[in-house]
């Protein structure tokens, strides 16, 4: 087991950021954000090979695309704490004149964001394009993307999934946040999707599963395995089993906090369960 104390500390701080950001503006999406905190921290701290100067030309570094843009709080927190922009700017989330729009965008020039997302189902196509650009450029770096499981109900994904294997886009690792929840209820209640693993495999992808998607060691191990399978003619799908609302007990295992902010009292409880580690913004 790796010593992951610094990553655990960062994750706790990211959870605090998420709760405080959505509480302040009484809007935003804490549930999915909390569920993916460990994944984002692992991705930006350990998994991706990123340029140190935060140049955004997209060349000679690993790239990440967030397709389910509504979990912008975790994205913004991890980008800020990775050095893309000042942590203090998290204070401006969803406020007028902010670069931290409700859903991520390149429009306001926020470093770290490479595409607008929010209208669901578009990110995988974009990630594929970026991966194919890397191949044309002779750039050996990888492209990562993250998608909600409910988001797979959007048909464009399946166009992209079919294309990626047909064109052997094997420098792409697309992770599905398998939390089983969407706005109107569980994914099984809203629109059962059957075996997502079976579907990706049938479309010609290599599929890996991370059973403990909120365990940093499990994420690091699973993503290392995913990386090891790139360059073999097939795109890689990682099924990341997470708990929506992870780390705040009353938000866990329910779709209720998909797009709802905590009140003052709920915020206090959530922060109490996640003591300050690296310093609040």
């Amino acid at each position: 087991m790796l010593n992951t104390k610094h990553l655990e500390d960062l994750t706790t701080q990211v959870r605090r950021d998420i709760l405080r950001m959505v509480h302040k503006v009484n809007s935003g999406h804490p549930g999915g954000s909390l569920g993916c905190a460990e994944f984002f921290v692992s991705l930006y701290s350990e998994i991706m090979d990123r340029k140190k100067d935060f140049n955004m030309d997209g060349i000679e570094e690993d790239l990440f695309f967030l397709s389910n843009g509504h979990i912008s709080p975790v994205f913004y927190s991890v980008l800020a704490r990775s050095g893309y922009f000042p942590v203090d700017e998290l204070n401006t989330f969803r406020l007028i004149d902010s670069r931290l729009q409700g859903h991520p965008t390149t429009h306001e020039g926020l470093p770290g964001v490479r595409i607008a997302s929010g209208s669901l189902g578009q990110g995988m196509s974009v990630a594929i394009g970026a991966a194919q650009a890397k191949k044309l450029n002779g750039d050996k770096h990888l492209v990562y993307s993250l998608h909600g499981d409910g988001e797979l109900q959007e048909g464009q994904n399946w166009e992209a999934i079919m294309y990626a294997s047909a064109k052997k886009v094997d420098n792409l690792i697309s992770t599905i946040d398998l939390n089983g929840q969407q706005i109107d209820g569980s994914t099984d209640d809203v629109l059962p999707m059957g075996s997502i693993k079976g579907k990706f495999e049938a479309f010609g992808w290599t599929v890996l599963e991370i059973e403990e998607g909120n365990n940093i060691n499990a994420i690091l191990k699973g993503m290392a395995e995913a990386k090891s399978k790139t360059g073999q003619g097939k795109p890689i799908c990682v099924l990341l089993k997470t708990v929506m609302g992870n780390g705040v007990d009353f938000m866990m295992h329910t779709h209720a906090w998909h797009g709802k902010a905590p009140n003052d009292e709920q915020l206090a409880i959530g922060l109490e369960q996640n003591a300050e580690t690296l310093g609040d913004y």
Partner: protein, 317 residues
Amino acid sequence: MKTYTYTEKKDTRSGFGAGLTELGRTNPNVVALCADLIGSLKMNQFIDENPERFFQVGIAEANMMGIAAGLTIGGKIPFTGTFANFSTGRVYDQIRQSIAYSGKNVKICASHAGLTLGEDGATHQILEDIGLMKMLPGMVVINPCDYNQTKAATIAIADYDGPVYLRFGRPSVPIFTPADQKFEIGKAIQLTEGTDVTIVATGHLVWEALEASKTLNEKGISAEVINIHTIKPLDEQAILDSVSKTGCIVTAEEHNVLGGLGESVARTLALNNPTPQEFVATNDTFGESGTPAQLMDKYGLNAATIVLKAEAVIKRK
């Protein structure tokens, strides 16, 4: 009056194909994508010469737009190719979010626009695409008039950094613009000088406007014909300068009257110099099957209608 003649007719889509071929030879960053319509878009030669820079996406236009957006990250200049209907209405949200809002350097190249697609009928004859595209912030909208201008426009947009909608068509139409004419985005081209009426046309209607001006001239009416190849950004000054002389205007386009060039011109005039205007366009209707010539006549997108509208608008001065 300056008159225009032609010795050859060609489809504007072939101008696109020729422009793309030239870009393939001169600009290593240009890549092309197609959704199962290579022959219709005349992309064959680019593909033959640059197979590694071509992406056949299959019948999946939404995916194509997303991939194009992604290809720009890393410096590629993607040109997407499919029919105008599948380049716009079918993929509006993909263009809106992944290309326009994201500010990606994608060139959306759309063939078979308008009624002149012909026999396939209304499912394929989009008459709303100019409106859809011009409403997107930051989107440049270009509708060239003949083979030479389409080729020049294709080459020019590669040097412009930002999203562009390039609209062209299927039928053979007279080639009357000079092969060596430089294409300047947003710069109208005055084709004839006139004093009685301004005729502003785009795409296939530019030649019809020239034909109309001949007829009008025979009737003693002096028409100033302006080729508006770029609908957005619109060359407002060229229009205002012309109507300050003529005092009235006819707009002509192969598009719905709602949302097209005519409305952009009307807005310009309303803000700066309210001027009588008549519209040659389809009147809030779908198309139907027929030959291109039959359809253009039935829906009044021809020189004869431009003449009638010109005579009508002059009376309103």
